[in-house]
Subunit: 221 residues, 2 copies
Amino acid sequence: MRRIYRSDLEGVVNELVVMSDSIQIAVRDATRALLQADLQLAERVISGDTRIDAMHDQLELRAFTILARQAPVAGELRTLVAVIQMVAALGRMGDLAAHVAKIARLRYPEHAVPEPLAENFSRMSFLAQEMIGNVGRVLAERNLEEAQTLAEQDEEMDNLRSDQFRVILGDDWEFGVEAAVDVALLGRYYERIADHAVAMGRRIIYVITGDLPEGENWPST
Amino acid sequence: MRRIYRSDLEGVVNELVVMSDSIQIAVRDATRALLQADLQLAERVISGDTRIDAMHDQLELRAFTILARQAPVAGELRTLVAVIQMVAALGRMGDLAAHVAKIARLRYPEHAVPEPLAENFSRMSFLAQEMIGNVGRVLAERNLEEAQTLAEQDEEMDNLRSDQFRVILGDDWEFGVEAAVDVALLGRYYERIADHAVAMGRRIIYVITGDLPEGENWPST
């Protein structure tokens, strides 16, 4: 019984890593759809979110079932609760990628992001994918060092968002209100993806060490 | 032992109701600060969010402790897991109220929301407060009917947001890019508060009935 239980738990953690791969791809594709005004790709990301939601529901149910049937304690309990919270965070990231794709679709055949900000969003997307990949590796390898880099990446993400505001609110902005509003909301979506990755990193540190990172509140998903 | 356990669980649920009261007040005050350009009140909401975060951390820890020490099963386990997720949702709502207050502070002594949209935001705030109040009552009284009204309120919230977009993207918009961006982000914050309330309502239905509402996915916080 005990061995079955441990393999159940490992199975759920493995599925989390698989889910994080799917989210990485959703972010990549949503950004391509956005920057290349690719309607087909945008549609694929939007319909793909149903699959991510299904992964979410299934994985959450598995975690609940282990909780309910096996009454885990201590470290295993902590892992399971963290898993439930991380599944929710990954589900939200998938929703946010779909939000990006929906703005791409809404503005098609136009580009939602004006040329001067394309590079900025490209970098945001790269960072978001890196962060999700890091979370996956931290989870799979219980690698605490990788978790530390998430904070630095999040800081770069915040700086990119500040740059966006400087551009859209600057005197040189010539793309009008609609494009500025799109940029502000899109930037928010990427920033939130990064926030969720950071929160997941902290949860994994908590699971591994039993301690919250120093000076940190327990992160909310 | 069994009786102690049940009172522990009730204690946590009561604290959730108390926390939802605090969130309601935060939303009310943040909106007042926003619409009246009241810097002092904005500061109070922002610093008050630390207290809400502390409630979140403490309540989550209590729920974890019950989980860990008392190995609940079936309905009680379901309640506890839902409590952990609802605590996270309330924590996020508090953050969102603080985001509203930060925009009020950023634009002070100006009003972030131009006059033609003040009524819209006032209604959004009213609805958000109603929804949080409903969630509190559903929780306290296990009242399923109250949970149904959340969906209607959420629909009105979505309509209010659509109205905002029509105004800021319309030809008559004379308040510039910055105000439009503020409105778009502020509208997003209220909409997210409502989404969290709906998700909480569904979780409570799940706790009470053991079933997810028909045709609904398990909501992500």
